[in-house]
């Protein structure tokens, strides 16, 4: 299991990276932490002819608390984001999800943007980005554009970046005051690839009712999906057991599930229902992550 040969580029600046992508775009892949890309290369399931490493591009490793959200540069490592104080206090869903990503040694190297760009249907971070309407900041030698998460994820292992673009950064909006969040997933093992998972943030009004729910589920052969109908149904309601169960049922009927040898489609669908229900109970009971205002 040795990778096929490739040309290697290691620019030391973002401009350099974008220049390489302009030149080699179609044939090139970006190497950040490599935790998803390199296994596929070792298995020779991917054989890019040019690899553009951003690992020497220190200017991309920032984690910035901006006014409208936490911005993680393309080289921000998952472990650093998971332990960033602003992230912990103001982006609890992101941090909760990061606990589930690989092992410590994978998160030490893996990047937040890398996982998003890889767009694995069973990866945690795309679900979070979708639930929170994160802004994906795409850059190319001709300029920058902001791609909403919903437009960024096209399908399994497929994003909407142009060949010459890279995901330069991602902006996660801060959790609103009064919100609580929960990321749960379940797999055949207690840690590792999930069968299904749920990213949920609920903002409660002073009357205890759900003012706004944000919900994304993963578990199909396709990329994680936002459960907008469930969000609408939950808005304005009291989240009790019955409401949670109904929301689970509704979500399960909306998602795109597929069976494989890890779990059949019926199970995945049923699991989505249970996980949504349990996540809602957790946030309603206050057991889940709470955003703190600073």
């Amino acid at each position: 299991m040795k990778p096929a040969p490739f040309e290697f580029r290691a620019p030391v600046s973002l401009d350099g990276v974008l220049e390489e992508m302009r030149e080699h775009g179609e044939a090139a892949r970006i190497l950040a932490g490599g935790q998803s890309l390199v296994p596929l290369m070792n298995l020779r399931m991917l054989q890019p002819s040019v690899l553009v490493s951003i690992n020497h591009c220190k200017e991309l490793s920032y984690i910035r608390a901006e006014e409208d959200g936490l911005v993680c540069g393309a080289l921000a490592r998952q472990w650093d984001v998971e332990h960033d104080q602003v992230a912990i206090q103001r982006c609890p869903l992101l941090v909760q999800a990061l606990h589930h990503v690989g092992a410590r040694s994978n998160r030490n190297r893996g990047t937040v943007c890398g996982s998003l760009a890889h767009a694995d249907p069973l990866a945690e971070l795309p679900a979070v980005a979708l639930a929170l309407d994160a802004d994906m900041i795409a850059a190319s030698s001709t300029g920058r554009r902001v791609v909403p998460a919903r437009e960024f994820f096209v399908g399994a292992l497929e994003n909407s970046l142009r060949p010459d673009e890279i995901l330069e950064a991602v902006r996660f909006p801060y959790a609103p005051t009064g919100s609580r969040s929960c990321f749960i997933e379940l797999g055949n093992r207690n840690h590792g690839f999930a069968i299904a998972g749920v990213a949920l943030e609920v903002t409660f009004g002073e009357d205890g009712r759900c003012r706004r729910a944000r919900l994304a589920v993963m578990g199909g052969e396709n990329i994680a999906k936002r459960a907008s109908d469930t969000e609408v149904a939950l808005a304005g309601s009291i989240i009790d057991e019955a409401a949670a169960r109904e929301a689970g049922r509704l979500t399960a009927s909306l998602v795109d599930v597929a069976g494989d040898f890890h779990a059949d489609a019926a199970y995945r669908r049923e699991l989505v229902a249970v996980l949504v229900e349990r996540a809602l109970i957790q946030v309603a009971s206050g057991a889940a992550g709470r955003a703190r205002s600073i």
């Binding site: 290697f8 390489e20 935790q35 296994p39 092992a103 040694s105 994978n106 190297r109 590792g192």
Partner: protein, 174 residues
């Protein structure tokens, strides 16, 4: 500006266990092969080459990482530490003793990766619960021990480490 290299071999310089090594390798050369075959340090093992089993765990710039998931050229200039280095400078002495006493290894193939994972974990969680230890090992595959004595060894090492710090004179140590 780009440090351009191509299919051709290129000079890669890494500091491994405090010593600098320069070798001419292809860009696709995996870090684990650089360490094992180009430098000749064999404590880092290959178990799966797709980042699941943890046998190839090393430290890159002070943190654990899977050396099968890195190209040597992409970590150009990094500080790498392997079991040989951590073992030689005594940083693992407590863990090694605990694994020996608790029979925390059988075939020994996963052991280097487990030791590096445990060392990083204990340095940040001095008083771990059993569940925390198990979670820390969640991506280190062992097919021999059933993890029972690995968990025990790490718990014992934490306890003994705790004693050493609480009692710097070491009077309570026998």
């Amino acid at each position: 500006m780009s440090q351009a290299t191509s299919l051709r071999k290129t000079d890669v310089t890494l500091t491994i266990n405090g010593k600098s090594y320069t070798r001419q390798v292809e860009p696709r050369r995996l870090l684990v092969d650089f360490i094992r075959h180009d430098v000749g340090l064999k404590a880092t093992h290959i178990g799966c080459e797709h980042g699941v089993c943890g046998a190839c765990t090393v430290r890159i710039d002070g943190r654990t990482a899977r050396s099968c998931l890195h190209f040597a050229v992409a970590v150009q200039g990094a500080e790498i530490e392997t079991l040989e280095g951590l073992s030689a400078d005594g940083r693992l002495a407590g863990l090694q003793k605990a694994f020996h006493d608790a029979h925390g290894l059988q075939c020994g193939y996963c052991t280097p990766g487990v030791l590096l994972t445990a060392e990083e974990f204990l340095s940040e969680n001095p008083e771990p619960s059993e569940q925390e230890i198990r979670a820390a090992l969640s991506n280190n595959l062992c097919r021999c021990t059933g993890y029972v004595n690995i968990v025990k060894a790490i718990a014992n090492a934490a306890r003994d480490r705790d004693k050493t710090t609480a009692d710097p004179a070491g009077e309570s140590r026998k």
